[in-house]
Symmetry: C2
Subunit: 336 residues, 2 copies
Amino acid sequence: MIQELQPPAALDGAAADALARARARTAPALDAALGQLDPWLREMAAHTTGGKGLRPALVLLAAEAVGADPEDALPGAVAVELIHTFSLVHDDIMDGDERRRSRPAVWKAYGTGPAVLAGDALHTLALDTLLRSGGPHAHSAVRHLVHALGDLVRGQAEDLRFENRPWYGPGAVTPHAYRRMAERKTGALFGCATALGAVLGGAPHRTVEALRRAGRHAGVAFQASDDVLGIWGDPALTGKPVYGDLRRGKKTLPVLTALAGAPPAHARALTALLAAGDRPAEAAARIEAAGGRTATVAEAGRQLGIAGRYLSAAPLDPAAVRALRNLLSFLPDRHG
Amino acid sequence: MIQELQPPAALDGAAADALARARARTAPALDAALGQLDPWLREMAAHTTGGKGLRPALVLLAAEAVGADPEDALPGAVAVELIHTFSLVHDDIMDGDERRRSRPAVWKAYGTGPAVLAGDALHTLALDTLLRSGGPHAHSAVRHLVHALGDLVRGQAEDLRFENRPWYGPGAVTPHAYRRMAERKTGALFGCATALGAVLGGAPHRTVEALRRAGRHAGVAFQASDDVLGIWGDPALTGKPVYGDLRRGKKTLPVLTALAGAPPAHARALTALLAAGDRPAEAAARIEAAGGRTATVAEAGRQLGIAGRYLSAAPLDPAAVRALRNLLSFLPDRHG
């Protein structure tokens, strides 16, 4: 039977517990890996670590879902967190984002050159961590990670180039093109996380593939929900400047769906407002009035639904799948 | 019998031939790898490729030296060239170098953010190339490459931090600390190149290790010779600004050996000149008078001698070793 993801009663509590457990389990291994870095690089890397640990939790829960000891998947949990941190450090340079997790971004705090190097160090450390683990599935795990890295880079390239395309009319970014970008930029590492849990847990190819796809769709849901938070989120909770995405004129899903669905006159007015970038509150209200917020929340739900169907169709441990569903359902509401 | 590297009679011709042959063999495979990149990233990557192809030549000659078909080592040749290009693209950002191979550096031509991404793409493509080759030694090759990448990052971190240390007196960078940095920053990828040729050629561990060490020492020789060219090289041949290293106050081996050997009064005068950075021709003359140029050329020779002894002690194909020696001997004179 195929089942949609449903928000359980004690959603936040269960998801928060799963995250806390995964963080507690991953932290010592992550520290040990970072301890191999040159002290200066370690300091810069530590500046950016300390997130919720969503991706390591996905790795460990996926391992449990295939009936493995999550300990076997620990190098995978560390590797995805290191790659996530690498991408934050480099993306903040590319996007000119000055703040991250309520602190100056690494490039603001240490300079652009050192931040480039810190990212490179994290990139290599992630691969080294998987190779050093030396388990029977380490090499297969490295393949998954390198494949995800290729997607990550391609998605980021697409996202950067979206900036030079028009908001509306011929050549504009379609919601479809955006989803494809998000699948690469965000979905790939989520899919890699769930795949690594399964791979390192010794699961057969079919099961690995089901978990990879579930993670990938969950990643797109995460990106959509991140876009909503980037406009309507509380800066005290997101750690990012208020209306940051609107001020920077970033082409995110709420804006693109609002423009795609609006009558031409409304779309032109919103485009002018976005291009000016100086009245973000008014732009946010217009995007919401044009249905951009609702459409994006719906897209997040739709992607989670697909993720849920992949989980239902695979032969997985029911308790672990429940925990995985709880965690994924938590995404759209993660900041209240 | 242990033999030192001796410059053969037809040095430049033989080395140039070996490089040209390796470039012709590597180019189609390199193009095929770059063809997998997003077109924008490919354009940025291509902006920086087109060097002499020294590292791919080392891979292919090392494969021949262990009696293998160099074709088997082609993915290694492509991978080291991609990693070399990655490091040029990122290092130019870190060092603020505006020109590379007589053209604007990628970050000058395309912007810092895109250059960070282009480097990341090359990094991942190198790993992907080794993994896709799918030969029996692909995973061992990946281990060598990841190990070298760790050294590369650590060496670059040390080099960047040298900038904040005094020229002279307590806390100054010693020639010994410089050599250790150069072993990582430059030697690691040379050693990886010769090791990959041996690994992909199916050589036993001992032989791989001898070739890795030979390459590593050759890399230190290369760095020393690069430092000489950075001060006394012809900008028309090096493609870099005249006296660039002296203007930027870079702590290179000629400077460090000159300062380490000079009487205190001379060292203080040179330090003042270097700190001001506005009379590089005078600084260059003083460095030369204090023996910095001679000591650095001698160090390059010493490192090539060690490399030669590793080659002599290993069971290798004599013709390929002769070609390898020719190529390595060419390093100190490569720009006349």
